[in-house]
């Protein structure tokens, strides 16, 4: 049962990911991207990462994707805005590279000896809001605080960039 759900959701995630980059219409791309993210969220739940799964749906599928949609709508992109399809000279080579990358990834995964651990002895709070929160505010306090700086900088940067005149 567990394996079946895994196979199903991962197939959905992969196919949706493929469709993201094959679509001409960016709005459709965004929709497929949301699909991938939700499928991944299911995988996260399977991995007992409840908090991250919820974050994935709320922040990624919700906030960031809405931002994408918003920009697309704002710019009102038409087909001709993308110009003519320039044929890439290195298209076959690039595909070959991608395949090599995938094979290399698989080789690495195959070659690494990762001892599988039983899932039963995990603490009850593993992956919960409480568990992740405790980690964030104890062990990873400084990096966590620094993210706020990063977000401030990003906000300022976005405002500066998008403004018509300074």
């Amino acid at each position: 049962m567990e394996l079946a759900i895994f196979i199903l959701t991962s197939l959905v995630a992969i196919v949706a990911a493929l469709l993201v980059i094959l679509q001409r219409n960016p709005i459709a791309s965004v929709m497929y991207l949301v699909t991938t993210f939700v499928a991944q969220a299911i995988l996260f739940i399977q991995l007992r990462a409840a908090f991250i799964a919820i974050l994935q749906v709320i922040v990624y599928a919700g906030a960031i994707m809405v931002l994408f949609l918003f920009v697309i709508m704002l710019l009102n992109l038409r087909r001709e805005d993308f110009g003519k399809d320039i044929k890439l000279k290195y298209k076959p080579l690039a595909i070959a590279f991608a395949v090599v990358l995938l094979i290399e990834t698989l080789v690495v995964i195959n070659a690494s000896m990762i001892p599988a651990q039983p899932g039963a002895d995990l603490p009850a709070t593993f992956g919960s809001v409480q568990g992740v929160g405790r980690e964030l505010f104890t062990t990873y306090l400084y990096p966590f605080e620094l993210t706020s700086v990063l977000l401030i900088v990003a906000i300022l940067g976005a405002v500066v960039m998008a403004k018509k005149k300074l």
Binding site: E2, L3, F6, A13, I14, A17, V20, I21, P26, S29, V30, L33, T36, Q40, L43, R48, I52, L55, Q56, V59, Y60, A63, I64, L67, F68, V71, L74, L75, L77, D81, F82, G83, D85, A98, L101, L102, T105, L106, I109, N110, I114, A116, Q117, L122, F126, G131, V132, E135, T139, P143, F144, T147, L150, L151, A154, G157, A158, V159, M161, A162
Partner: protein, 100 residues
Amino acid sequence: MVPLEYYLIVAGIIFTIGMIGVIFARNIIIIFMAIELMLNAANLAMIAFSRNLGSMGGHVMVFMIMTVAAAEAAVGLSIIIALFRNRDSANIDEVNLMKW
């Protein structure tokens, strides 16, 4: 339970798809989405390792990656807006000022 390797393989495939997207897409917004795909693939691998090792460090790392992704999306999209405003185009190939 599902072995760790399976998750890693799925993450690898999604990452490669993202990579292909970055190289082939001409629409700058799609390139952006492909980058998000790659980040997510990395997230998946993190969570899988975290589960396997029974440590929550990976969760925190994913949290950080999401923050970075959000920041990057905000800045990146504002760059796109500025670019579109100046060039009236979202085609990445028309943005080639990065040479002498």
